[in-house]
Each structure stands twice: as C-alpha cells, then as structure tokens.
Symmetry: C2
Amino acid sequence: MQTSSQLDALRARIHELKDLGGIIGLLNWDQETYLPDKAGPARAAQLSTLQGLYHQRLVAPEVGEWLELAEREAAAADDRSMLRVFRHERDRAVKVPERLVRALAEAQSDGLAGWREARAARRFAPFQPALERLLALRREQADAIGHGGERYDALLDHYEPGMTTARLLPVLERLRASLVPLVERLDGTLDGADPFAGQTFDPEVQWRFTVELLGLLGFDLQAGRQDRSIHPFTGGTHPTDVRLTTRIDAANPCPALFGTLHECGHGLYEQGFLPEHHRTPLAAAPSMGLHESQSRLWENLIGRSLPFWRFLYPRLQAAFPAALGRVPLESFHRAINRVRRSPIRVEADEVTYNLHIVLRTTLELRLLRGDLAVADLPEAWNAAMVATLGIRPRDDVEGVLQDIHWAWGELGYFPTYSLGNLYAASLLHAAERALPALWSDVERGQLGTLREWLRREVHQQGFRTSAEDRVRTITGQGLTDADFLEYLRAKYRALTGRVLTTSS
Amino acid sequence: MQTSSQLDALRARIHELKDLGGIIGLLNWDQETYLPDKAGPARAAQLSTLQGLYHQRLVAPEVGEWLELAEREAAAADDRSMLRVFRHERDRAVKVPERLVRALAEAQSDGLAGWREARAARRFAPFQPALERLLALRREQADAIGHGGERYDALLDHYEPGMTTARLLPVLERLRASLVPLVERLDGTLDGADPFAGQTFDPEVQWRFTVELLGLLGFDLQAGRQDRSIHPFTGGTHPTDVRLTTRIDAANPCPALFGTLHECGHGLYEQGFLPEHHRTPLAAAPSMGLHESQSRLWENLIGRSLPFWRFLYPRLQAAFPAALGRVPLESFHRAINRVRRSPIRVEADEVTYNLHIVLRTTLELRLLRGDLAVADLPEAWNAAMVATLGIRPRDDVEGVLQDIHWAWGELGYFPTYSLGNLYAASLLHAAERALPALWSDVERGQLGTLREWLRREVHQQGFRTSAEDRVRTITGQGLTDADFLEYLRAKYRALTGRVLTTSS
C-alpha cells in the first residue's frame, strides 16, 4: 500500500510537471504571436516565476525518495522508460540551483530584447552585453551539471541526450568535407529565370493554401492551430494543442510553403504521441535531432521532391494563376532546389544548409571554451562565412544576428539540425524499402502512407528509447551520413544530369 | 535585518502569486479564443494544476508568519492596504482545502462542457449533473469559508467584498419596484422602423470600427489587444497585457459596438493601475461592482448618449453608407435606446436590464439555500420571466442557459452588474459636477476629459479602499439608486417627451 501510494504521488507530480511545462509552452507561444509590445517585462517575470516553480517541484526531496522507490518497483516497460527519462531530467536539474534557473530565464528575456534592439540597429553591439551574460550563465550551468572537461557536452546533452562533442565534431567535419566540393560543383548549375521575380502572391491566398497543406499532410486542426509569427516555430501545450506558426512574404510563396511544411513535420510528431503517454515525459521526442528529422523530411525530402509537386503544383498554379500559370512544373521544381551560396540559413538549399550549421557549431563551441570573446563574434562569423561559403554578409542582420537561438541562450541546439538532416535521409531510405508504393502515393497526394509509417515507427514510440537506438531499430544502423549524401547525389544527378561524387 | 528579509520574502511571494494569477488569466483567455477543440481536457488539467499550486503557495505556513510580522512593521499607507487585501484573500483561502480548490477547477471545466452540450441540444438536461456538482462544491466552499447562516454571503464576498445578502436584497427589491412601472410606461414608446432590419454590416469593417473605437476611448493597444470570442469578456495577464474580446454580428452592428465599449471600460480600468502597484494585490478593482461601473458607464451612460453619437455617428455612417447613409442620427439614437421586454440579458436596454439581474440573484440564492432543486431551475426561470417581464422564453437557450456564469459555478457574481449600474450613475453625476466641459468634450470626441478623471479618481486608486468607500469619497455618498433612477428618468423624458415618475 505504501509503495502504491508513493508511486501514485510520483505519477501525480510527473503529471503536474508536464502540465506546467505545457503552460510554459503557452507563455512562449503567446510571446511570439500575440503579446502586446509593452508586456515584455511582465511576461519575463511570469516565465521566470513559473520556471522557478517548475524547478522547485522537480527537485523537491520527496520526489527523489518516490523515484528511488518507484525504480525498485516498476515492472512495466513503459513505466521503466518513463522513470529513466524522468531521472535523467531530475538529476540534471538537482545540480542547478533555482537562483541560476531564474537568472537564466531573466537573461533570456533580456537576450531577446537586446537581440531585437540590435537587429533594429542592424549592428551587433546592443546585443553584446546580454549575450555575454547568457554565456556566463551557460558556463555556470554546464559546470553545475558537470562534464569531463568539455562544457559543450553538458549543454548538448539537453537537446541530444547521449551526444558528445567528441562524437559530433568528426560527423560535422565529414559533412563539411563532402559538401564543400558538392557546392562547388552545383553552385550556379540550376540558375535560370527566377519564376517568382517581380510577382506578387496575395497573403490571404497564401495563408489559405498553407492551411490546406496542413490538411493534406494530416495535421489535425482540431488538435492544433497555425498562426503567423516573424520566426516560424512549433510550440503548444499538449499533444491535443500543437501550435505552428508560419511567415508570409507577398513577393515569394516559398517562406510560407516550406515554413508550413517544416513546422507541420514537427507538429505531426507532437500530435502523434500515444494517449497513454500524455502528461508523462514519454510524450516527447528523445532528441531535437530526431524532432528535426521529421520537419526536414517533410520540408525537403518530400516537400522539394518532384512527385510531391506533380500532385500539388496544379493547385498552386490555380491559387496564383497570374504569377505561375505559365511557369512549367520543371522550372518551379528547379527554382525550389537551386543550390546557391547565400548568407541566410533558413533560406539555404539542402546542400549548403549544413555548412551554416558547421559554422555556428564551431563558433559556439569556441565561445563556450573561451577561445573566442563575444566582442569578436561578428568578425569571426564573417570570416567563417568567407572561408566556408565564400560570401561576406552585408551587415550583422545578414550575419551573426540572423538566428534567434543565441538570443535565447540556446547553445548546443544548432547541431541538431544537421543530425536531423542525416536521420531524415536514413528514415526515408527505410521507408522506401518498407513502403513500395511510397512515391506513387506521394504523387497522388496520398501522404498518409508515409505519415502513418512515421507515426508507428517514430511518433508513437515517444521517448521510450534514445533517438539513435530508435533509428537503428528502424534502419538497421545508427547515425550515418551515407544516406544523406546518397540522397543529395541522386537528387542533383536527376536535376542537373551530372554524375556527382564527393570526397566522403 | 530579520524583519526586512521576511518582508522581502513576503513581497517576493506576493509577486509570485500575482504572476501565477496572470498566467491563469492567459489560460482562461486562450480557452475562450484560440484553444483547439480537442484540447479541452488538457486545458482543464493545466488550470486545475496551476490553481492548486497557487493555493499551496498562498496558504503555506511561512506566508502566515511573514504576514503577521509585516502587519506589525508596515508603516507606508500603500503597504498597509496591500497587506489588508492580501490577508483577506489568504484568510479565505486557508479555510478551503486544496482538494476542494482542484475539485472546483475540474467541476468548472465539466460545467463549461456540459453547458455547451446543453446549448447545442437547446435543453437544460445535459447541464444538470454538472451544475448540481458545482452547487454542491460551492456550498461546501461557503461552509468552509464560514458565514452567519447565509451561505450566499461567503460567495458574494469574493466578488463584492463587504457586501451581504441582507444589505443587497433590499437594494435589488427597491430597484425592482421602481423599474417595473417604468418598463410599463416605456415599453413600446420608442418603437418605429428598425434601422438595422434587412441590412448587412461587413464584419471586417465592423472590426476596424471597433479598433478605432478603442483608440478613441484611449485604450492602449500596445498594452493590450482585442480578439473575437462568442462571449465577450475582458481578461489578460497584467496591466500592460489587457485582453478584450468582442462579438461581431453581420446583421447588426450593436453587439460589436456596445460589446467593445463595455469591455473597453473594463480594459481602461485594468490599464489604469499605478505601476508601483503592479505585481501586488493593489493592482485590482476593490469589487466587481466597481469594475462593472466602468464598463456600464462607457457602454451606456456615454455610449448610448446623444452627444457621443453626435460625434461618432457620421463616422459610422461613412463606414456603412448603404445601411445607414439615410438613417438620421435621431432614429439611430432611439433605436439603440429602445425599451423592450426581451429574454436576453446582454441585449437588454438599460431599464429592463436590472430586472434580469434581480431574477438571477433570486434564483441562485434559492439554489444555494436549498429552496430550489437544480432540476426545477428551468421552470423556475421561465415562471420568473413571466412574473417579472411578462415573457416566456422559447427554449432553455433563450432562458436558463443564456449566461456562462453558472457554467463556471459563479454564484454571487450577477448582482455586481446592478451594483455597477448604480455606481456608474453616481460616478457620472460626480463627474458632471467636477467637469463642466464633460458633455461638450464628449460631443467633440474628446473622451480624455472623462477618462483621465476616472483614471485619477478610480483606476489609480486600485484596491486601496473598499469600492463603497471609494465611491463615497468621490460622490459624497455610498451605494444609492437615486442617481441611477434620476439618470433613467431624465434620459427617457428627453427621448419620449413624457414626465416619468416611479414608485421609489
């Protein structure tokens, strides 16, 4: 009876924490969508208060006692998985004082404000003090959590549990070495008249098209919604309340189309957790890399494929007859796959994209190691852009200020995008083997074939195992760049008619 | 030093509680505006969790110790007021077990769901079990808080601190006795062609008009926002984040116009608290009656006045030239002030409105006293409508199911609307004496004259004193129906050309 009641107490606390996490999700979503301009400081205080309370309720001593008991008693596989995930989170949290949690929450709000001010001024300086503060707090947090001499490991583990700097860097270096010559070969080969140049695309029509796109992919709009924001993201409070945002550019439909496809990939994952896992840590992706695999898969591997647009392009033409009525499918398909050295990550093609990630990972690692001062970051960024992509940003907005991540103090997040690209290609490869009708179904707009396979193989598994273990179970191998590089070579061979080899 | 650190601890807890209250406000606002359909149960759990935590943090023993110490030490007038308000809230909360707080939060969610189901079915029965549960919990709550034999007192005190049933009932009875013969005299006297009949009013144009109206009244849209909802309300998280909703009917502009004016009155109050009171219980109205005085003042005493529409009507005509271009100001003004026995409270004119309140107050008092079973409520409602207003609702949606309040288990709220009407008339009377240019300024669209007076006399005072003490300071007398009845008589004398006396 004692055991049972203490297990019940632990479960109740776990539900409570999941509820609080969902509420923090609502505060963040609201901050990026509907919060009035002057309410920034009030929202910062609310977030700091709630994150502090979350921390208190997580690290409370009684929770440790319940947990130890539960670990001895739990028999069901899902219970054991849940306790493992919960212990991982709690063990990290116990080492971090609540003071630091609240200081980080406040520094994040200041970081966001400083970053916005810097972007408005188009120069890095106004952001520098806030980033210095965030960096100092992240170092303190990393030291509190503990590491084997590499602070980055402690932060990375939050986004990609089990990943280490020592394992990550060679993966990124191999990618870089393979991609640089590929960019060299492809840059300019798909150039031609830009089908979007000089056209306008009614924002309301774009909006309706993206909502139809969500329906086509199977996103449940009764268990989620889409809104607009400057920086598209996926948030929400619960698997029945998943919130996507998109960004609409009247001069170009691509930000809305591919933004919606990307966030929808995240959203399908969040909606796909098993109901019996709701309100527990199992209703979560085991890593951000696996989460990004879902967004990148729908955005790129499906969303920039020819079969997908064979189905969808006539509808896009019908939505924008003046702009696209006389643009052939093949021209459109080439335009959305053009390889080009460009300064902005979120607008980068699939080949150059990972080079943007290598650059950011290298820089944030140097910041954290103390090899680079925050004051020197803008110039280091520009030098790395020249070295990696051969271009120099016109100003800091086009350079070091382009992403929101560092404004939130998110160090260790960026590499998960590349891991997501690699996982996405491996998963697609496995799906093609498992689903012979995959591409013919895509061509008929039957996306449920792939979605339900992903639901079964990935989404419904939640956090039962690590990301890499899950991928290994599905594909037969762990993290690899082979599928991704093969996917790129095949795709661009078809698009350019050239045989492409790389150094990898 | 000890004292100071304990005062600091108390102040930190008070800030935390105010933050949590603001977050609960966001959860509620979101539930009525943007929450996806399927997320109802998840939101119910989130609200229950957060309300439970709020309660825990409020009643924690250390807070009682800090409070006693602070009460002995505090010298500044605002500190003493703050501690008095905080003690009042805490003393009530300490008596209510957290189990009951959580049960009430869940019963409210069930109540809302049952009420919605019943409305869809257009009959009361599906709502009955949830209302019975809510009533049982409210009785338990009233008994826990304590009362002198009248449970309603314990609930009333939450909305109108200091008010008692014994004081309230004679006020309402006098109102009823005055208004019934007035309705008799006025019903039908302002009839004529309905200027809105058969017209359509573009919802987008209505929306833009209401946003301009907010600007005209001085609502700060950088410290608040307006959205749409089925049941207009004012919520938000902080005085810099005040959220109004309005409802748009394409066949009639009145719901949007007067809904926005009403909620804007609430919103100006919320935005008007002093910055030094933010994050404390002083940044609040001392009663819902005083809050309603602000919404009813702008909606009716200003918003249905001839001077106001002398300024605004040409703009409304310009917004809807086809529908209103040939309708004279006087016809419009008569139409928005027509006295008519009608079944729906929120659509009622200023004369019949309070009769709807008397009816609801009488019924909820009987429910709470045990003199009326929930099962018999619909028939009791209909009988009371016949007795009071001479009309019988066509069905329960037009009758007992029309308001959301009982679905939330809000018993004791309704009378604050009538108190608000009485306070509004007394405040306007005082404003007319203090501001000789008031009406000529209104006629020129200069609403700042009245708004800034209200800001100074009401809004910025926050919760420093009770509602009635504040009104007495401003007007020279406490709660009275004299100003309200005189206002109605003068208004309808002007509109109908008849001298009106009532039995009061």
